[in-house]
């Protein structure tokens, strides 16, 4: 059993990113970057448990090509019967969460990264190997990854495939640390206790949250962009010298999802401002190294300078 989502302490940025990506799938995937021991994986798993009731399809370290792309059922093959088996990419696309989770994604072999990149970009999985020759279309899933930047950056091409990037900082505030210790130990003590009010309350809060997110998802198409907001997204993208239009589009989609979550009928400049960091932090850099420049007060100020005219 995973720690219920409502029991997570902190991680506001990552939670917001996951919720936005859930409400509006068109935003794309989420990358969580942060130091070790910051519960990035727990947060992702808790979120998918809350939303779809099961763990995400996970690409583990050391997965072989046939399990990623698809292959044959070996046991049957050894008995002389050839029966194909889906790989993790197809499994992720068919899963209720429509998510492929990759832990330590920056340590993944470039070869596998290229395969994932191709499929995420095109939605087409072409398997031409080991006796299989097929092309699957509409293989769509959200790529969700975690990484520790100390172990190296991610290629810009792959970074760009993540709609949102959340910076997960270690909790150093003593009060927050105390809450983490108390909550986790209490969860461990009571998770298997069917009579635990603590767990019942957490499950109820999770159900409430899921219902709210589903409602936001349902009303997403009814949320309209306020006058000038789309132009404002383009101006913000321009101010950050983004290459291409993916950044503008994701900015607008993420702001719309946030408005839906907040129950607002219109997307306004405030929504754009609040999602700007998640959308822009990995797109504004020029370096090929994948090292993300820190988001500074100057970046916030630039967003604010660009946005006041959004309403007009």
């Amino acid at each position: 059993m995973i720690l219920p989502y409502s029991l997570l302490v902190g991680h506001r940025e990552l939670r917001t990113a996951l919720e936005i990506a859930y409400v509006n799938e068109a935003v794309g995937g989420v990358l969580a970057t942060g130091q070790r021991g910051t519960a990035k994986t727990t947060t992702v798993r808790a979120f998918t448990m809350m939303t779809v009731g099961r763990l995400p399809v996970t690409l583990p370290i050391g997965a072989t090509d046939d399990r990623v792309l698809g292959g044959w059922q070996i046991k049957k093959l050894m008995r002389g019967a050839a029966e194909p088996e889906d790989g993790l990419l197809v499994e992720a696309a068919k899963s209720p969460a429509r998510m492929l989770y990759v832990d330590e994604i920056n340590l993944l072999d470039d070869y596998l990264v290229n395969i994932i990149l191709d499929v995420v970009s095109t939605g087409v999985l072409s398997v031409q190997r080991e006796g299989r020759a097929e092309e699957l279309h509409d293989v769509h899933f959200a790529l969700v990854g975690t990484m520790n930047p100390d172990e190296g950056g991610l290629r810009p091409q792959l970074l760009d495939r993540f709609g949102l990037v959340a910076d997960v900082l270690p909790e150093e505030d003593p009060e927050q640390r105390r809450r983490i210790v108390e909550t986790v130990l209490r969860f461990e003590a009571e998770r298997d206790d069917p009579g635990s009010e603590f767990m019942a309350e957490a499950r109820a809060r999770d159900a409430e949250k899921k219902a709210a997110l589903d409602a936001a998802r349902a009303r997403l198409s009814a949320v309209r962009y306020g006058t000038g907001v789309i132009d404002a997204c383009a101006r913000v993208a321009d101010a950050f010298e983004l290459v291409g239009h993916r950044g503008d589009l994701v900015l607008g989609r993420a702001a719309r999802a946030l408005a839906a979550i907040e129950g607002a009928p219109l997307v306004d400049a405030g929504h754009v401002a609040r999602v700007a960091k998640l959308v822009l932090v990995h797109r504004r850099g020029r370096g090929e190294s994948g090292t993300l420049p820190p988001w500074t007060a100057e970046d916030d100020a630039r967003v604010e300078r660009t946005l006041p005219n959004a309403e007009g």
Binding site: I74, R79, L185, F198
Partner: protein
């Protein structure tokens, strides 16, 4: 476990234990009592003692069935851990590996006798499984998913621990200095009232205190205990350590039969883990654990509003746990932690020592075998096809089976068996792989310092090495007049040194800006990429940096693409900071080529030192001017 085994008196035996042995046994009890405690790392434990310690833990965990004890030495390969081929009465069968857990069986005990030299599959497995809610293995047509409960015990020399990946060490938050354990075992054996083997003696000592399985729920953590955890563990540490300290305290309270976990248990746990003691004036009384027999109250205590973030304790009915609930008042602000860092010479966390120099990539090393490196096998590079096998190395399983499948009807007509797949030697297929030399040259060219000197003579030996070994070449260049953006460095890759683009890069007109820090950032990422790229082992990477060290563009200016205001020494400082990462990269040899004499010769010396490489000084041409 049988107390009083071999006629020994439990009380007498426990009293004879030395301090280290007593600590080891206490940690084993905690590990058995707390499934999520995390890995236990013994510093300087005599290698022969780890199996004994593992057997003792297995004794504690035995609950009807005895747990498997799995030893992962330097021989461990992925096929041992996740998926193995076994021989059954009817032929071969593919079976779950040693680390795959099955429902209903007790959790296995995993022993790593030398974590410092554990092979990559073992360290990866530790990172994947320890303290994880879920585990998965996806290999060769098999998908296995389970909830990991294994207890991991590892040993490492303290001197080596600082060189291990902090990621890996983070999965072993419980540390025990066990250097004197073997001496204490000998002394314990000598003093034992009867002759018995070490395991029997130590099992008897373990039996002196209650052991799992414990009846009822675990003791509840009090708010003051949680505060003590936060106060004793430095805030800069991973939160996993906070939880390990709290879980150890809970296990100690449970072994002691307490209903709640108070400050004293946390302090006892901190002492057990070797954390620095709190200041004496803070050693206060703690009544939390002293009243386990509090009169019961009826029913469960409702969680008040905000209970998930609450403090305080409400005592529960006997046989039920006490619960933390909100006190109703304002939250009490906590004092920031003031204890000294837990690294240092004898501290439990040597990786926190600023002098620690973990090796980058120890969790993501290439997989090629030494046989392949010697050129005896084909298993280098990615597969680009298959061919009939010439030997039994790098056999492609599926193509082999598919090849065999084509002839089944014929073979059955001729053969004796009518079931199963009939495979002949001629069916064996082997991968054809992309050639890869395993060598790489990363060339960093600072054109801004090129005026007035010829870098060719100093560069020539390195370029020759690259050509002779057919090394892949990555070039990072900056500071030239043709640059599209003078604030950033550019990187490109070519398959060979003979690519015309390399020649062009060696002859560019110098410019003004010098984003040295950005160039080094690109070079570091390139080296990391090379080291984790595919099956091919990177045997050697040569990093050649041609520069005068006078970087004048801060890294953030390059990354953000905005001209800096006042720069000062920031560009140089950033370059040195980024360069330090190269020291942690295995199989990388840095060389700095610099012009002399120069205005600031100390800059290139500092850079070479930061990189951990050599400095080669090249003379300027007579009468040549300084950089503009």
């Amino acid at each position: 476990m049988a107390a009083g085994e071999a006629g020994l008196n439990v009380g007498d035996v426990e009293g004879e234990l030395g301090g280290t042995l007593a600590r080891v046994l206490t940690v084993l009890r905690c590990s058995a009592a707390e499934p999520r405690l995390g890995g236990v790392l013994f510093f300087d434990l005599e290698p022969a003692l780890l199996p004994l310690v593992g057997e003792l833990l297995a004794d504690l965990l035995a609950d009807g069935a005895r747990p498997r004890v799995v030893t992962l030495g330097s021989w461990a390969a992925p096929e041992d851990l996740w998926l193995r081929t076994g021989v059954t009465g009817e032929g071969f069968a593919v079976l779950p590996g040693a680390l795959v857990e099955r429902g209903g069986a007790p959790p296995p005990v995993v022993l790593v006798p030398d974590l410092g030299h554990a092979p990559l599959p073992v360290t990866q497995a530790a990172v994947t499984l320890l303290d994880a809610d879920a585990a998965a293995a996806e290999l060769f047509g098999h998908s296995m998913r389970w909830r990991p409960r294994a207890r991991w015990l590892a040993a490492v020399g303290r001197a080596e621990a600082g060189r291990l990946s902090p990621h890996l060490l983070d999965r072993f938050p419980v540390r025990v200095d066990a250097a004197s354990a073997h001496r204490e075992v000998r002394a314990f054996r000598r003093r034992a009232p009867v002759r018995a083997d070490d395991r029997t003696l130590l099992r008897t000592a373990l039996a002196a205190r209650p052991a799992p399985p414990f009846p009822g729920p675990p003791p509840a953590l009090t708010a003051e205990a949680a505060r003590e955890v936060v106060a004793l563990m430095p805030s800069s540490a991973s939160r996993r350590r906070d939880l390990a300290l709290a879980r150890t305290a809970r296990a100690l309270a449970r072994v002691a039969g307490h209903a709640r976990v108070g400050r004293a248990a946390v302090r006892e746990a901190a002492a057990l883990l070797g954390l620095p003691a709190p200041p004496p004036e803070e050693r206060g009384g703690d009544t939390a654990e002293r009243d386990p027999g509090t009169p019961p109250r009826n029913g469960r205590t409702p969680v008040p509003a905000g209970g998930l973030e609450s403090t305080g304790v409400v005592e529960a009915a006997q046989g039920q746990r006490a619960r933390s609930v909100a006190p109703g008042g304002a939250p009490v602000p906590l004092e920031p932690a003031t204890v000294r860092p837990a690294g240092g010479d004898r501290g439990p966390y040597p990786e926190d020592d600023p002098e620690a120099l973990p090796r980058f990539g120890s969790l993501r090393a290439p997989r090629a075998s030494s046989v392949a490196r010697a050129g005896a096998g084909p298993s280098r590079g990615h597969p680009v096809g298959v061919r009939p096998a010439r030997d039994l190395r790098d056999v492609a399983l599926i193509p082999t089976l598919l090849e065999a499948a084509r002839f089944q009807r014929i073979r059955r007509a001729r053969g004796r068996r009518s079931e199963g797949l009939l495979v002949n030697a001629a069916d064996l297929r082997q991968y054809r792989r992309r050639p890869d030399s395993g060598r790489a040259l990363v060339l960093v060219l600072d054109h801004s310092c090129h005026a007035g000197w010829d870098w060719a003579p100093a560069l020539a030996p390195h370029l020759r090495w690259s050509y002779q070994h057919n090394a892949s070449v990555s070039v990072v260049e900056f500071g030239h007049r043709d640059a599209a953006d003078e604030l950033t460095a550019e990187r490109y890759r070519v398959d060979s040194l003979l690519h015309p683009r390399v020649l062009a890069s060696l002859n560019r007109p110098p410019g003004m800006a010098s984003p040295l820090a950005h160039a080094l950032d690109l070079a570091v990422q390139e080296l990391r990429r090379l080291q984790r790229n595919g099956r091919a082992a990177l045997e050697h990477a040569l990093l050649v940096v041609v520069t005068d060290g006078r970087g004048n563009v801060p890294l953030n200016a390059s990354l953000g693409g905005r001209p800096p205001g006042r720069v000062g020494r920031e560009g140089v400082t950033d370059a040195l900071r980024v360069a330090a990462a190269v020291r942690t990269l295995p199989r990388a040899e840095p060389v700095v080529i610099a012009p002399v004499p120069d205005v600031h010769p100390e800059l290139t010396a500092e850079l070479a030192e930061a990189l951990g490489g050599r400095l080669v000084a090249a003379s300027r041409r007579a009468g040549a001017g300084e950089r503009r």
